[in-house]
Symmetry: C2
Subunit: 230 residues, 2 copies
Amino acid sequence: MMGPMSRPAASSGRTGRPPLTSRAEILEAARRLIGRDGWETLTIRRLAAELGIGPTTLYRHIKDKEDLLVLLLNDHLDRLERPALPADPRDRIVAAATAMHDVLADWPWAAEVLAVDGFIARLDESALWMVEAILSGASERGCTPDQGIELFRDLWYYTVGEILVRSRSARVVTEEERRTFVRRFDASRTPHLAAVGDRWGTVAGRDTYPAALRTFVDGLLAQAAAPAGD
Amino acid sequence: MMGPMSRPAASSGRTGRPPLTSRAEILEAARRLIGRDGWETLTIRRLAAELGIGPTTLYRHIKDKEDLLVLLLNDHLDRLERPALPADPRDRIVAAATAMHDVLADWPWAAEVLAVDGFIARLDESALWMVEAILSGASERGCTPDQGIELFRDLWYYTVGEILVRSRSARVVTEEERRTFVRRFDASRTPHLAAVGDRWGTVAGRDTYPAALRTFVDGLLAQAAAPAGD
DNA sequence: TCGACTTTGCGAACATGTTCCGAACGCGTT
DNA sequence: AACGCGTTCGGAACATGTTCGCAAAGTCGA
């Protein structure tokens, strides 16, 4: 039932060929490689070469590359210090969500991991304080447990979307492309889009996450407190 | 400046070897393949085989696979009829955002496309009415053009996040995994998470998009109307 | 010592997206 | 007819993630 992929364990009471590589060594080599050449160049074969082992041997220690990235993120989260949280429940929710956002936004390859299956469930306890903080804040503001979960999920969706879309829009837009984009707006069919015109690129670059987050939190808390409504 | 990748064009006044395949044929074959075997099996080689051409020839007509998916989505959007929009600006915003959401949620491989670079800019005019509807609603509610863009972006983030996370969480969770997940919650460190326990899976399955969307829209509109505030 | 048994290491191989480069092909000019 | 030109076609090849099957290397019990 234990299957493979367990930790290397002390050599006591262990059967089978002793491992030459540990998961910790793999993560260390991956961090080294990323730090040296950038995370885009992190491939299974290069990582194996860095470790001096065969590429397929890695699969004895990690499930797949996605798993490796999740492990790396957890490893990163473990190294961060947990900030003090505001006493006010609403501010605590905002602070926790902002912390989630900022950590991921600073993690350049977060976008590769954010959408993996069951992401939240694969986080270490060192990251779950953010979830806990949001649930506790919701609870103190009178939310039921179910409403707390829903609040977290809605904030999570917004946060993930923000990071994902932004990280993929980082490419520089050429003047030619910009012109083509603007020209496509037919003022008769999409007048507002045409009127907005070339302000899109400018405004799209702004960081509205903090303001919108507060708005969303306040709205969701009010909605949870109210019995019903459209 | 025109470069390759243009339409096959009528044979008049055209130099060079005449194309055997058109982009329209490629999209048609892709739809056929997806309808027959599911979109997971759509590969460049299979698509080329379906068309009876060499795999690399496809790259004369599409930029890459991502481009093909965007083309397929635009093709899909073109076939949808544009619903009547409510006269009330707030309801119009909600209706347009919901339409965006529903179209993408019904498009099983939307998640593969949603995060591509400059996604919105690559949409056909047949899809831009949704953007236009949101901008017009915002305008009628007194938003400046910049605020309209920001409103759209915040709704877009939330929508993208919802669809992306949900589509990747569709996998069935085994009893074993669920047990492991719940057991990890240490009641002393994360009491609310522990208290929530196994309700997470149940609540996470609920569709809270419509309610949270309305909340978000109302909050953002109110924030835009107010001069300032935390 | 000897044979299960168990776990790790790894080379071969496969599917996939994609690039390269030469061949094929039709047009216009000489 | 012959040649250059511009374009498309497509096979070879490459990098990548990953699976498969087998060899290697320990432990445990006879």
